[in-house]
Symmetry: C2
Subunit: 203 residues, 2 copies
């Protein structure tokens, strides 16, 4: 059951706005940002173009707001709860678990849409990249804690952070896979794979 | 030095064609498939639209031929040589090494362009996906050999195959990184990270 964000995820955006964001994201992923018109999006959400322009000032503004919305959700669903976890290994396991669940349940289109970030204005790109970097910093700092505890393998923490992000967001690019049936298996396998890559083997 | 494919890689396509493919791929990644016109591409390669239509029948045909070209290169540079390596661990290490080098040196735009595959006609998509699946099968079969040798951790070989592909191709999406200076470091870290995830620890 592909549940709507507004029903199941903590969410600051009004329900109708979230619906518009979701439909627009799916269309932009399917047709590409350049190939999607405001008219296409209006049609997909059952609005007139004038009605849609009541909510947004244009396509670039819409993309910016969608990516900000996706970052809001990431913070609500993943970042805020895992920051409360003291043990770095458990924090990283939960971060991966929650973020993979978020991607599979609500965020396949949103995740892929980040590749369109270069269509934003300079200042908008900077804001979104800043928020992404904050998320990467949480992972990197968690790895550094593990290193200080003597639990991490000898590895480049920056490169490992990107591999962790790739493993989480990569599932959104596995076309033709239906994860809703096997979400728990996917989560367990991905967490185990990543932890084996990161942690020293237990003697 | 971002060397041209035609100078340094074994290559079946004539030099001029390869140049057109490269410029078109870079433009399509930058502006999106839907946002790139044949006129844009002609301008980027210093040709008239009529001149470009002498080589290709249209934008979809061009995308199809670029993705096939990228798969040709992958087979020449990576797949064919590593198939000759008998030991599965060494085969996988070399596959990762050669493919990451290929992505960083010649293939950043080509790699990202695969996300536009849904713009191809049904039969074209099927052909490209078939070639990609062959590449995944090589990785999967190598993991199965490692499992038969008792060297692989208990893991889902299909999911692990996708994580390996994500780790290799993911580097093409790390914006703002200059790998040409640190290519060897990136290769070593990525191979070590992946091997630690896959192989049982040595007692």
């Amino acid at each position: 059951m592909p549940a709507s964000v507004v029903q199941t995820a903590p969410n600051a955006a009004p329900a109708r706005t979230a619906e518009v964001f979701r439909a627009a994201a799916e269309l932009m992923v399917q047709k590409g940002y350049g190939g999607t018109s405001i008219g296409d999006i209006a049609q997909a959400v059952g609005m007139t173009k004038a009605g849609l322009y009541h909510h947004i000032s244009g396509k670039q503004d819409l993309l910016f707001r969608i990516l900000n919305y996706a970052m809001d959700e990431l913070e609500l669903i993943v970042t805020a709860p895992v920051r409360l976890i003291e043990d770095p290994e458990e924090r990283l396991r939960q971060l991966m678990r929650l973020q993979i669940q978020g991607v599979v349940r609500y965020g396949l289109a949103f995740t892929v849409l980040f590749s369109e970030i270069n269509h934003l204005a300079e200042a908008q790109q900077k804001e979104i990249r800043g928020r992404l970097n904050e998320h990467h910093a949480l992972i990197r700092e968690t790895l550094q804690e593990l290193a200080e505890d003597g639990r991490l393998r000898r590895l480049d923490v920056n490169i490992a952070t990107m591999h962790i992000m790739n493993a989480i967001t990569g599932v959104a690019r596995w076309k033709g896979e239906d994860f809703s049936k096997n979400e728990e298996h996917l989560v367990q396998e991905t967490v185990a794979y990543t932890m084996a890559a990161l942690l020293k083997p237990v003697k």
